[in-house]
Symmetry: C2
Subunit: 251 residues, 2 copies
């Protein structure tokens, strides 16, 4: 039985708790968080505390808090003999240097309150300051996911940046699409089959081969016309940046 303590009450903490509690040979021994109200969401089946000086002994402590709180939280875990990890994509492992055994357990996925994620397909990017602890994290990750990777801090930073492009920026493109539809009194629904197919297509075609559109064809006239259609300068800026990047690539 692997005993896990979770520190944090946000989306990642919640989703990890959800999967850990339903996995054999894993026990969540405690959830620690600043907010008593947030802790209540975890139900009565797990011990909780708002007092970080009273963190129960565990085999692995999982710090799932906002990036800039990780260092502070880790101070409370300095004397623990268990493995202390954080779950962030962009924070280097050495922020946990104060803890003898430390590492990273980064799920490369977007989590929100409203949606339960099937962890089995979530890639876990793991790092630890010893070979044996990396193996321990692998054992844990493989219990809940099929996609487990050893990734050092530098590489993880690039991955996190890639995630910003394919998740944050893509979502903003969806937002622009929605705005354009609503301007014309059309439901956003009309774009959803296209959005779905765009995301599915890359499972069969490399993005470069899946690229279509005016910039891909070098269709300067359409690009000019479409730029004129845009009345939001932020949208034009995005349109321009993509059009030159795609044109250059296709050239």
């Amino acid at each position: 039985m692997l005993r896990i303590g979770i520190i944090g009450t946000g989306n990642v903490a919640r989703q990890l708790f959800g999967v850990f509690r339903n996995t054999e040979d894993l026990a969540v021994v405690q959830i620690a968080g600043r907010s008593g109200t947030a802790l209540k969401c975890f139900g009565d089946s797990v011990t909780t505390t708002t007092d970080f000086t009273k963190i129960t002994d565990a085999d692995i402590y999982m710090i799932a808090v906002s990036d800039d709180a990780i260092a502070t939280i880790s101070q409370f875990l300095r004397d623990k003999s268990g493995l202390v990890v954080h779950t962030s994509g962009s924070v280097a492992m050495d922020v946990l240097d104060g803890c003898k055994r430390h590492g990273v357990f980064y799920p490369l996925q977007t989590f929100s309150k409203e949606r339960e994620i099937d962890m089995q397909h979530v890639p876990f990017c793991l790092e630890a300051n010893s070979h044996s602890d990396l193996e321990l994290l692998k054992t844990l990750a493989l219990k809940i996911s099929d996609a487990v990777y050893a990734v050092d801090s530098e590489t993880r930073k690039t991955l996190h940046l890639a995630a910003v492009f394919v998740n944050n920026f893509t979502n903003h493109l969806y937002y622009i699409g929605q705005q354009l539809c609503e301007k014309e009194g059309l439901p956003f629904e009309i774009l959803k089959p296209l959005i779905k197919e765009t995301a599915e297509k890359i499972n069969h075609l490399a993005p470069k081969d899946a690229q279509t559109g005016p910039a891909r064809r070098g269709d300067v006239e359409t690009i000019k016309k479409q730029l004129k259609q845009l009345d939001d300068s932020r949208h034009s800026e995005i349109y321009r940046a993509f059009s030159s990047a795609i044109t250059e690539l296709s050239g």
Copy 2:
């Protein structure tokens, strides 16, 4: 029985032919195209011609060629009594003014040679120069799809622009994500669950509410660091354009 003539041999022509031939009460009477080789892909079950002066009589002529060839092709259909439509998102209906009965039959989807599309979920945007022909196009579209919309030329232009954002530009973000992964020797596979979830999330949350990331949080430090990480100026330009748009929106 509705008799359809298809002019064009590209992806749209091919996919429409594939669904029309398998739909009751529809008959594709002929496919016309410049290239004999391209016409061969349609098999022996349909009559084909490379001679546009020999287009067989039909109830609906569907011009599925590149945007700038539509006007020229339509010259060959001036004397026909059937309804002449094109399938383009960005070309106004009046390009077909020379044909007495004319309209637009625009499938809002990305088509490629390699992938068969389930037409049932493809939104069809219809327009015609008479009420009865709009009804005729609706009858046709509803035989193959559940999502049928009457959309005038101006609105369709905006829709096409929205499609450029959510399809062309999103696909380029996938490309950048792939580049960043490959730079680190990681397989693009690692980003695919995130890409999938990003696209699915908007079925449950509005894009504005689904937005996360450094720009959404106003995390200027991370934005600065990530910009430094990028060594391709086209990627930096895209990063900057999104970060200011998202920051402004979230502010």
